[in-house]
Amino acid sequence: MRALKIAGLAMNGLRRSPLRVTLTTLGVTFACGALVTMVALAIGIQRQVETPFRALAMLNNIQVRPKEGKDADKAPPLDDAALANIEKLPGVAAAYPDVHIKGIKVRYEKKEAIAIGIALPREASLLGVADEFIVAGRLFDEGNRPEAILGLSVVKELGFKTPAEAVGKQIALEAAGLTPDGGDKFTYQQTTMALTVIGVYEAPALLPGAARQGILLPVELMKDIPGIHLDSALSRLKSGGPIVTSGYASATVRVRDPAMLHEVQVKLTAMGFSTEAMLNKLQHMRQFFLAIQMLLSVVGSVALIIAALGIVNTLLMAVMERYQEIGLCKAIGASDGDLFILFLTEAGIIGCLGGLTGLGLGWLVSQLMELVAGFYARGQGITGRLNLFAFPLWMVAVTVAFAILVSIVAGIYPALRAARVDPIRALRSH
């Protein structure tokens, strides 16, 4: 109670030299502003990068590839039979090939677009994932109708004014590619399909334009696209093993529960595949971002420490200027501790004001940078808000707390000087 009331006197002390206190506070403001902007950027970008992981529930996924390197020729192929076997493993929800085929022609009436074919398992809709990327229509459901989901850029190229307009329309797909037919021969094949557009997706803002250029097909339709076995066959040929005509270069295995990840991974390895859990990838990324955040925090903290030197200076001057007043206060009953608290509070107030205004400044700067980056991004065909910066509540709180803490530490020496003022000397000084 007493300490609180003594602390209440601090504002009066600070009002005495408004310009000096303002300048000192500005030092803290800029330091905190820089700190906040940098850390917010690191957190913001991390979130952007992690969005697909979360939104696509990728953390239950294991990426499976055929073994490469030394014994690649003896490794089992990653084909439909292997995927069927994998699906039978306990804990596995689904196993499907990861296929990206470039140069797929999509036609609607007179208009044409070139898209990237991507396989999407029909189960995706059951998992309730990826919903947030669908801007019109829906995901695939069970069944085997010839359906497709188009990227926003493809929809625009095909001449639709809005995503919703494309939903339900019939499009034609035309794909051509090389299919391995055993030995070292490949056959050129062409396929056309008639598909119904059931949905339109938008990619996260940070992803490049190509991410909106896709045509998502159910896995079973994708298997009819020529060229999906080409990569696997080529790498098999290069390693000198027997040619496999129906292998995939990569597949995704979904486990029911992240707790099963390790167990399934061990079994897949035993089957002769190389595996990597997405969770693992995410953790590596997190470590990277943590390192970046630490680095930026250290840089920002250096600025804050320099600002703290300003606080030391300002308060030492205040102690000198108020030398007689401090002596008087002691004569009328202030204890050494009272004066210590008083000056420490003045430091804390500077830190608090600086921290809060620094947050404001950081936010303002980040908005400006967001604007500039958004302007630039539109030039690169990226639309929508980038959300490069994130201001989670914990960061706001930690920043202000840190500014106050550093300032209070800076106030310790001046406060000790005030506490140690000899009242007799102070009152004799004229």
């Binding site: 003594i6 006197l9 007043e325 008087l328 206060c329 009328i332 009953g333 204890s335 007799i424 009152l427």
Partner: protein
């Protein structure tokens, strides 16, 4: 005199300062008694040790030897914190140069003392206003020191010194910065406080005539030695 009314008692009180090789005897073997409710004036030229004595009586300083008792307290044996609490509760100080805080109004200057004395809120406001009223500055309560004359500033300082009703008021040349007429007014105010509140007053001055007019007893100090009667009047 060892009467039961004896409020202040010093015995062999000495204070010296060492400046390089020289030793300055600011106070030498002072034996001194003040009765409860007495108004004692101490006369002496500059450098004779008047302030040193007041600082010892007020618990701002500690003696090199000898003892000083106020009420039933032995000041020489107190810890620093005990002396702080003694100043906070028993003593009121008035100085030659007022020592008001320039950024605070008259009432706020008085309230500042109350804050250190642990009085807060409405009680503090009431007591501060009452004290300002008592020294006749009711209309000047919200003025800052630079809007007040020297005499008025010293009145504020007096209000601050008596706001917690101290048993002992120590005044160090309270009229030293004032012209004669104003000095007489301020002296009158101190006398009035002494009379109305029954406060024991020890006042240091070099104005002999003024001292004789208001004090119950006048003592002289020269080169750190108290002259004349060490006892009561």
């Amino acid at each position: 005199m060892e009467s039961s009314d004896c409020f202040i008692e010093t015995r062999g009180l000495s204070r010296q300062y060492r400046v390089g090789p020289a030793e300055i005897h600011a106070l030498v073997e002072v034996d001194f008694h003040v009765q409860k409710g007495e108004f004692v004036a101490i006369l002496g030229v500059s450098g004779s040790g008047k302030s040193t004595l007041l600082h010892l009586l007020g618990g701002l300083d500690t003696p090199d030897c000898g003892c000083v008792r106020v009420g039933d307290r032995d000041l020489a044996g107190m810890t620093s914190m005990e002396r702080t609490i003694y100043r906070r509760t028993v003593v009121g100080f008035i100085f030659q140069s007022y020592y008001l805080v320039g950024s605070l109004t008259a009432t706020e200057n008085v309230a500042l003392a109350l804050t250190f004395q642990g009085v807060f809120g409405a009680e503090r406001t009431r007591l501060a206003a009452e004290s300002i009223e008592r020294v006749g500055l009711g209309l000047r309560a919200s003025h800052r020191p630079n809007q007040l004359s020297g005499g008025e500033q010293q009145r504020v300082a007096i209000a601050r010194a008596i706001v917690h009703r101290p048993a002992l008021l120590l005044a160090d040349e309270p009229t030293g910065n004032l012209d004669r007429a104003t000095a007489a007014e301020v002296m009158g105010l101190i006398h009035q406080v002494h009379r109305d509140l029954g406060t024991t007053v020890v006042m240091v001055t070099h104005d002999e005539e003024m001292a004789a007019r208001v004090a119950d007893r006048v003592l002289r100090i020269r080169d750190g030695r108290l002259e004349g009667a060490g006892g009561s009047a």
